[in-house]
Point group: D2
Chain length 164, copies 4
């Protein structure tokens, strides 16, 4: 039977230390909840940290890679999906997640939040940046929630999953 | 020899009257400059208006459709690309345009601006909305310009194309 | 109003001299019929030859490229669609063509014929190779026709377009 | 660390009884070898049977779905990837598998074998149909192997994986 999949999106090379710490904790909490972690699968930034957190807690991890092979994959990814779609794979990240959590911001992450809102997929933004909050609030037509730390984000996920 | 392609992105069903008027004028000016107009190809909102403006000026129009056939296509599209990619086609809209102009805002358009910035593609936002301007300025690592009316946007396109 | 688009698919680097000659003639005849030529857009093999034939007859050409930019594009392509989809773009080649003509065979071309048959898109194989004919006949559930020279292939296209 | 993924491709609605029996046995053997099973994920034909075989042996299953949600998914899929790519998702099936096994034939499966050969991905055809064997042999430039029953196919997989 289909497992619940939680997507964690966020910057790669430009992730801050705080983004990576949050991502690690998100990965750990997702694994502890017995959900599958889905990320963009690369060995940098939020993707890598979230996968490492999930594996530290014995979780299962899926990486949706932009290239046609597993070059540059996080060593903490269990199942690699090689899409060869470049950034078009961002839409798959969103559609394949029961809930999308954005951890930090950048152009790629912004595209994922926007695609989630477009698809009517619940999204949680882990950010205290008012500019980010104001912008996505202004275009949201589906469920958009905000959290300021990983445990709060996971509590929101739990509420969303129970609702559906 | 390859023709210059200018992409006009913007809301479909939720476009405002101002968005549609701007889009029509953009389409007309793009055709007059002898550039090809590229849009998402549907028969609503900014896509439809831009195509109609371009055809009124005798231009050539390309529509990158989300579905696997031409259902719901703007009657002012000359060349239909049926992608069957859903919103992943937004990345093709951006990559296939020499310059991307966003006319109005919504979740789909936001994904296109973000994907343009991610790809290092020059983007022009035709908006006076400070929230939109502030957000994309905060994540831009490539050329992001602002215009307040269609002729100004076209002047910016001209500058960008001459530069390259 | 939407123009009729005829796709010509065939080998790139491994095209035979005969494939390229047929492709050139197909491109010329497609342009003379006032149809748009669609190919995979690269500057090799059947793609390049078909585009050159179409331009020699003053036609309009569209190239659906596998990469995220116009590197390696045929100089005879007018409108470049940069997909960044790799070989997944083969499905767009098929879906965006009113009729698909395969000129020669190889793994990429075989995927395009198969995707055309899967989508119920009319396909014409320009080949005298019995192995190719037998195989695709065995899996066809939609219109699959055979031709032995470019004028015959174009006559078949004309019949298919008039039918629909 | 990345798990080995074996893709089983084959007809959906048009699968024969023999195809489904082979697929079930392939799924079971793949799970027993501790590999992950990857399929197109739908609840029909080879996809459904392979997933059920894998789950009967306690395996882990991934389904790469053509739509934007999990409608029509096999109940034996653990991890659903909702691509919204239609048949373009066939390229992801191939690229994400360490080895591709085709079990039966149809237009979709033919596209997958062709895309595997195009990508240089090892493919095993479980078929005694000479037309199918002759055709793919004629276009193969990478490793293409034939098997007549599931245990033989799995033995070939084992050889391919050890080689690399």
């Amino acid at each position: 039977m289909r497992k619940i999949v939680i997507g964690v999106m966020g910057p790669g090379d430009n992730a801050t230390k705080g983004d990576r710490e949050n991502a690690y904790q998100l990965g750990r909490l997702i694994a502890q909840a017995d959900w599958v972690l889905l990320t963009g699968g690369r060995n940098v930034g939020v993707m890598d940290a979230a996968n490492k957190g999930a594996k530290a807690a014995g979780g299962l991890t899926v990486g949706i890679l932009p290239g046609n092979n597993t070059y540059g994959i996080s060593e903490a990814v269990d199942i690699a999906i090689a899409t060869d779609l470049g950034n078009a794979r961002n839409n798959l990240n969103v559609l394949s997640s029961d809930v999308v959590i954005a951890c930090g911001i950048g152009a790629g992450t912004a595209s994922e939040i926007a695609l989630a809102l477009k698809a009517g997929k619940p999204a949680i933004l882990l950010t205290e940046d008012r500019i980010v909050q104001d912008f996505f609030t202004s275009i949201a037509r589906s469920q958009l929630l905000f959290a300021t730390n990983p445990p709060d984000a996971i509590a929101l996920v739990r509420g969303l999953i129970t609702d559906n």
